[in-house]
């Protein structure tokens, strides 16, 4: 098969894989952004057992490789407890990956949030209190936007890392773009023994992260209306 004949087949396959990559990226972001806030409230709670529990979880998650976490979450229920909760096939791999990524990223996000909240002067709380606001109103109406402004640069960093980290789901054979590129080495759709599709996947990541960088940069600029 000539290169010209291979190209459409390969691109089609990589596109399909990248769609899965994007799906995992999107779902992780949707899940980890709010879950991170909950963990952040837990890890700063005045209720000691809850605080220690959250700190413990954060320590475990940040202290072990995401790749191992993926394998433990995917294989352990079936192999150790004889209860394969994820089910077989692609949907099961995707769900297990999403769960692992959401938990992992929520822990990192929670620490970024914590820094962002603690950087807000206590005078903002006090000003809200003497104006008769509730704690919820102070958080949502006064502190949240200030926190978002402060955490946006470190969050952008994490988000770009997440795009690339989704490739780790390859380790449990989730059919994302790395898996799709690698398939042409072993043989797929009549093509085998070529490595360029695997290398070519880097372009996808690069372009997508380029778009994200622009979008996140615009968002940062948008929040420059206050200091």
């Amino acid at each position: 098969m000539t290169f010209a004949e291979q190209l459409p087949i390969v691109l089609n396959s990589l596109n399909e894989g990248f769609l899965q990559t994007l799906k995992l990226f999107g779902i992780t972001l949707l899940g980890a952004v709010p879950l991170g806030l909950i963990i952040c409230f837990g890890s700063t709670s005045r209720f000691t057992p809850l605080r220690l529990f959250c700190k413990f979880i954060i320590w475990i998650v940040r202290g072990t490789p995401l790749m191992i976490q993926l394998m433990i979450i995917y294989y352990m229920p079936g192999l150790v407890f004889d209860n394969p909760i994820w089910g077989g096939g692609d949907p099961g791999r995707f769900t297990a990956s999403a769960v692992a990524f959401i938990i992992n990223y929520a822990c990192y996000f929670s620490e970024i949030y914590r820094g962002g909240i603690q950087a807000i002067p206590v005078g903002q709380d006090e000003a809200g209190l003497v104006l008769g606001m509730t704690k919820g109103q102070i958080f949502f109406k006064v502190k949240l936007l200030q926190m978002i402004k402060r955490i946006l640069p470190p969050m952008s960093n994490e988000i770009l890392t997440l795009v690339k980290d989704t490739s780790l789901a390859r380790v449990i054979s989730m059919h994302e773009i790395i898996w799709a590129g690698e398939a042409f080495m072993k043989g797929s759709q009549g093509i085998s023994g070529i490595i360029w599709p695997l290398f070519f996947t880097a372009i996808y990541y690069l372009i997508f992260n380029g778009v994200l960088t622009v979008v996140l940069g615009k968002l940062e600029k948008k929040l420059n209306f206050f200091r």
Binding site: P121, G123, Q124, E126, A127, L129, V130, L131, G132, M133, T134, Q137, K141, V142, L145, Q146, K149, F225, F226, R227
Partner: protein
């Protein structure tokens, strides 16, 4: 009948007794200035009145109604929130909300309060425009009618503090408290803030002012409290305190102050 009565207020931080049995009262439409050196407990007293600190002991009454009594059961948060509304507090460091314009800073709290009104849903538009107009009026009164859409970082320190005063006034407090309102300002900007406070005094606003501006305290107050090491060392009219102080500690404080001037 006094509008505010504080009885036997005590407050300790760790081993540090900051307030030792403070009692005083304030008549309606009067201005009380609290003076004294740093660390004498002035700010803590003000924070206790605004329920930012909980006194260990003591009673706080407004209009003869007990708002706080250390011997009674702990007040729940909702009641504390309601009690706070008797007081307004202007901070040394302004504490304006940076993401809101001057006008939004003034109208935020009244808008949130209005949402609890039973008729809010049916009269939303008219209630909100009423709040907005009141906010504009307040900002015009303090001479910032042309800056209502500016954000705090676009305003000078003196302008920020004036917005903070308008923000506190927007909730119509019975007593407006100032915690060293000009200490974070350049001498040049101090005057514009003091002028606003003086105008409020002329309008018979009941106020408590913690300040290091002695000549201002003398000019604007009906009553002066001199605090030292957590106790009220001496109190009286401005003439009494500044012209004929009785206590040795007061004389010394004023002597040191005048020497610096």
């Amino acid at each position: 009948m006094p509008i505010l009565e504080a009885e036997h207020i005590c407050k300790t931080f760790g081993k540090n007794e900051v307030l030792k049995d403070i009692s005083f009262s304030l008549e309606k439409n009067n201005v009380l200035s609290i003076i004294g050196s740093s660390g004498s407990g002035k700010t803590t007293l003000l924070r206790c009145l605004n329920f930012l600190e909980t006194p260990d002991k003591g009673i706080i009454k407004v209009n003869n109604k007990i708002l706080f009594d250390s011997s009674a059961a702990r007040t729940d948060e909702k009641a504390i929130r309601k009690n706070r509304l008797h007081f307004g507090l202007v901070f040394q460091s302004f504490n304006l909300f940076p993401q809101y314009t001057a006008l939004q800073n003034v109208t935020l709290a009244p808008t949130l309060q209005a949402k609890n009104r039973p008729d809010f849903k049916s009269n939303k538009a008219s209630i909100l425009s009423e709040i907005k107009n009141h906010g504009i009026e307040l900002l015009e009164q303090i001479g910032l009618g042309d800056r209502i859409d500016n954000y705090p970082h676009q305003l000078s320190g003196g302008q920020c503090q004036r917005v903070a005063i308008a923000r506190a006034l927007a909730l119509n407090p019975d007593i407006l408290c100032f915690d060293e309102p000009t200490s974070a300002l350049d001498p040049e900007l101090t005057g514009e803030v003091l002028k606003v406070i003086k105008e409020l005094a002329e309008k018979k606003m009941t106020m408590i002012i913690v300040t290091h501006e002695m000549s201002f305290a003398k000019e604007v107050s009906n009553h002066i409290i001199f605090m030292d090491k957590g106790v009220i060392c001496e109190e009286g009219t401005p003439e009494q305190i500044f012209e004929n102080p009785r206590e040795e500690r007061t004389k010394q404080f004023l002597y040191n102050y005048n020497r610096q001037e």
